[in-house]
């Protein structure tokens, strides 16, 4: 066995802001049929990072810390998001509240520009990223495939970028593979996590085969008929896609090329005489 080749069972490790991350599947904690199914899905996914959020607490429910205790018991790192924020100012205040509650300076930064597409507002995103990095946050910006926005975010100090595959919750897969491939080529050394729009394990595998470092998803697992089983399906697809990337995919061609040797084909040339 050639030990110089990457071992498909133990692929090259991923480092995010200097933290070594075991799993390339990041999972959301929302929309599961029950807290128990959420916990089992996180375990089945083998996720080492899960996304969480903050919402208005009601005096009647007073349930937020119970949820956090459950997540904490799973031994995973949490990444709070700023989901639903429409301005940089809202996102900045939300990130600060999340940092105090969850005790982490990691933040999945979302500044949403449109209700129908939940498309990132790249201008607000950059403004919020600059402010939060100044306040000591490790910012994971939820962005589009736009190369210049990505470059500005990198300049602002974002060490990781999270481009969308398709709008949040659509499950449409890689809507713009050409642009995603360009982004990957443009930033060979920046950890890139495809976030949002993944619907099937094959979508996640395709992103990993392109060389993306990880995939973040939520709805595709939480809304599956059997979320726990879907979580392990995604884990397998992401591991396979990563191994395929590390193994080096063949070049695509336009014309057919026989795989069986042509030389020595029986009856070859007999019809010429």
């Amino acid at each position: 066995m050639n030990t110089a080749l990457p071992n498909p069972v133990m692929p090259a490790s991923l480092s995010l802001y200097g933290v070594s991350v075991a799993s390339r599947l990041l999972l959301g904690t929302a929309l599961y049929p029950s807290p128990k199914v959420m916990a089992e899905s996180i375990k089945a996914a083998g996720a080492s990072i899960v996304t969480v959020s903050v919402r208005r607490e009601s005096a009647r429910a007073n349930s937020g810390m119970g949820f956090f205790e459950l997540v904490r018991s799973l031994n995973v790192r949490v990444m709070p998001n700023t989901a639903g924020c429409r301005t940089a100012r809202e996102a900045i205040a939300t990130a600060h509240m999340a940092r105090e509650l969850f005790g982490t300076d990691w933040v999945k930064l979302e500044v949403i520009g449109n209700d129908d597409t939940l498309q990132p507002d790249l201008f607000g995103l950059l403004e919020a990223a600059r402010a939060l990095i100044g306040d000591g946050f490790k910012v994971f910006p939820y962005t589009t495939e736009d190369l210049i926005a990505a470059e500005r975010l990198r300049e602002a100090g974002c060490e990781v970028l999270m481009p969308w595959a398709a709008p949040i919750g659509t499950g449409r897969g890689l809507a713009n593979p050409y642009a995603l491939r360009s982004l990957r080529t443009y930033f060979p050394d920046t950890p890139l996590i495809v976030d949002a729009g993944i619907g099937a394990p094959s979508h996640a595998a395709a992103a990993m085969e392109m060389g993306f470092d990880a995939v973040l998803l939520n709805t595709a697992v939480a809304r599956a008929a059997d979320p726990v089983r879907m979580a392990s399906a995604f884990a397998a697809a992401i591991a396979a896609g990563r191994s395929a990337f590390e193994a080096g995919l063949m070049e695509m061609r336009d014309t057919a090329a026989p795989s069986t040797p042509v030389a020595g084909t029986p009856f070859f040339g007999l019809d010429k005489s």
Partner: protein
């Protein structure tokens, strides 16, 4: 950056030299009036101070003097929630010294599921 109410820091409505702009002056005027009301009530122990503030978007009448008291009145554990006042984060340690005035918009949040 954080809303601690004192001293005033230059904001969006401020002029380039840090002078207080019109919007901020307007707010300060309302606040001074509210603080005057509070002082009046404090002088009279028979009249408990009542303030109308917005908590998580809902109008609420409260006798709380500070953000910390408001959080306690709602029955929240001190470390179980995070707060913002009029759009700016207020750290846990600053709630005690953050005085409420009429029409303040308070956000009180806790951990929740997210994607």
């Amino acid at each position: 950056m954080f809303n601690t109410r004192a001293p005033p820091t230059p904001g969006k409505s401020d002029g380039p030299d840090g002078r207080i702009g019109r919007a901020r002056r307007g707010n300060a005027c309302i606040r001074n009036k509210a603080i005057a009301n509070i002082r009046q009530h404090r002088g009279n122990p028979d009249t408990p101070m009542q303030l109308k503030v917005f908590v998580n978007g809902e109008a609420t009448v409260t006798s709380a003097d500070t953000l910390a008291e408001l959080v306690a009145q709602f029955g929240f554990a001190e470390t179980g929630v995070a707060t913002a006042l009029n759009g700016d984060f207020v750290p846990r340690g600053a709630r005690q010294t953050t005085r409420l005035v009429g029409d303040d918009k308070v956000e009180i949040v806790s951990p929740r599921q997210g994607g």
